[in-house]
């Protein structure tokens, strides 16, 4: 039997935000957006996979077969950075303002990420610490607290709050930084509960903390500069 959990997860990343988008974009604009977001996702997966290989197994970088097996690991942050850079580049190439597009898709992106996390139900049964309340992944005896479902709920909440803030004229750059910072914050907190081998911070946890600090620093700098310019 083939396991289609990962494929279903990727489909959910695109389908769930698309279902929630209101108002629906005009057909021409909608296709353009789907094209760019789809391209961004593909680039993100490719770069995330390359980063994972470069860090974990540099000897496989020249092997196309190894590169294509994304199931073997995709580094989240390099993938996200590449996906956003691709989106920004295509927008600039079309003569548009990249921050406007990135801010526009920020909430939808958070919902897409939430969909991916929630689809752990289809992949690995949502592992977590052993608790009295939780799910019991196939074959396991103890119930495990489904950290990924809590992450998904937190991401949806962050998307909703960001959407409300956008309607109150939150600037584009702030929207982008808050969206990325929210992901970093949620991942940083969740990483404390996620099961890991051995002790110490995982690479993903460390990267999330670095990104979180970078977002806070950038947001502070942007706001300070805005205040200085205003005065």
């Amino acid at each position: 039997m083939r396991d289609y959990g990962l494929l279903a997860s990727i489909a959910a990343v695109l389908a769930v935000p698309a279902l929630l988008v209101r108002p629906w974009p005009q057909p021409e604009q909608g296709w353009r957006l789907i094209d760019r977001v789809g391209g961004s996702l593909a680039i993100g997966l490719l770069i995330g996979r390359l980063a994972a290989l470069a860090i974990d197994d540099p000897g496989s970088l020249t092997s196309l077969a190894d590169l294509l097996v994304i199931r073997s690991g995709v580094d989240f942050w390099p993938g996200l950075a590449a996906g956003l850079a691709w989106l920004a580049w295509t927008e600039r190439r079309a003569g548009q303002h990249p921050p406007a597009l990135l801010a526009m898709v920020a909430s939808a992106g958070l919902v897409g990420w939430a969909a991916y996390e929630a689809s752990c139900l289809l992949r690995d049964g949502c592992p977590g610490p052993i608790r009295a309340i939780g799910l019991r992944p196939d074959g396991l005896v103890e119930r495990q607290f489904p950290v990924a479902l809590v992450v998904a709920a937190a991401a949806v909440l962050a998307a909703w709050l960001l959407d409300r803030a956008r309607h109150r004229a939150l600037p584009n750059i702030d929207t982008i930084l808050i969206a990325i910072g929210s992901v970093a914050l949620i991942r940083s907190i969740a990483s404390f509960w996620l099961p890991r081998v051995g002790t110490g911070l995982t690479r993903q946890h460390l990267m999330s903390l670095i990104v979180l600090l970078a977002c806070i620093a950038a947001l502070t700098a942007v706001r300070q500069r805005r205040t200085l310019n205003a005065s």
Binding site: M1, D3, A12, A15, V16, L19, A52, D56, D57, G59, S60, S63, A65, D66, V69, R71, S72, G73, A118, S119, L121, L122, D124, P127, G128, P129, I130, P137, D138, G139, L140, V141, E142, Q144, L194, P195, R196, V197, G198, T202
Partner: protein, 164 residues
């Protein structure tokens, strides 16, 4: 909401795979760690019988398998971190011995590995793809099977479960 409801129904109603493999035979000692020992399927089962009392993770791998390259360092780290409470056994199958040894050397594998030259072990375990991981409880019963690459979270949660 329809998508979420459909997913929930699928998760709740999907059949749970039932493990069938049961190791049988006289107990024998596990082969030395770090080596690649040629064993028959019967001998492999006897090794598992001999290890009853501790949870055992059997990982079926091959040097040509891409996810195995990602998984092996994780298994090595696990073997080091859980030396006292679990046993990890690699089963190299559908592979060349020289390639397997080079692979083990590349990743500095120190846990026990068995060379399944005839493919008998693979057949007895019912391997459906590479890599495949079989988790046995301390009582020797097969608890769960993972086909495909293991993530650190998944492996750690399985270990937490079998050692709880």
């Amino acid at each position: 909401m329809i998508v979420i409801a459909a997913v929930a129904i699928f998760v709740v109603t999907r059949p749970v795979s039932t493990p069938v493999f049961v190791a049988d035979g006289p107990a024998i000692e596990a082969p030395p760690a770090g080596a690649l020992t040629d064993l028959s399927a019967d001998e492999f089962e006897s090794v598992l019988v001999g290890l009853r009392g501790r949870p055992v993770i059997v990982n079926v791998w091959a040097s040509w398998c891409a996810p195995c390259r990602t998984e092996t360092p994780l298994l090595e780290r696990t073997a080091q971190a859980h030396q006292s409470d679990i046993v990890i056994i690699g089963v190299n199958s559908r592979d060349q011995r020289a390639g397997a040894l080079a692979f083990m050397d590349e990743f500095d594998v120190t846990f026990t590995n068995i060379f399944d030259s005839s493919g008998e072990i693979r057949g007895r375990l019912g391997v459906r793809g590479f890599p495949s991981t079989y988790v046995f409880g301390a009582d020797g019963a097969l608890r769960t099977t993972v086909v495909g690459g293991l993530t650190e979270q998944r492996l750690a949660s399985i270990i937490a479960d079998v050692t709880a």
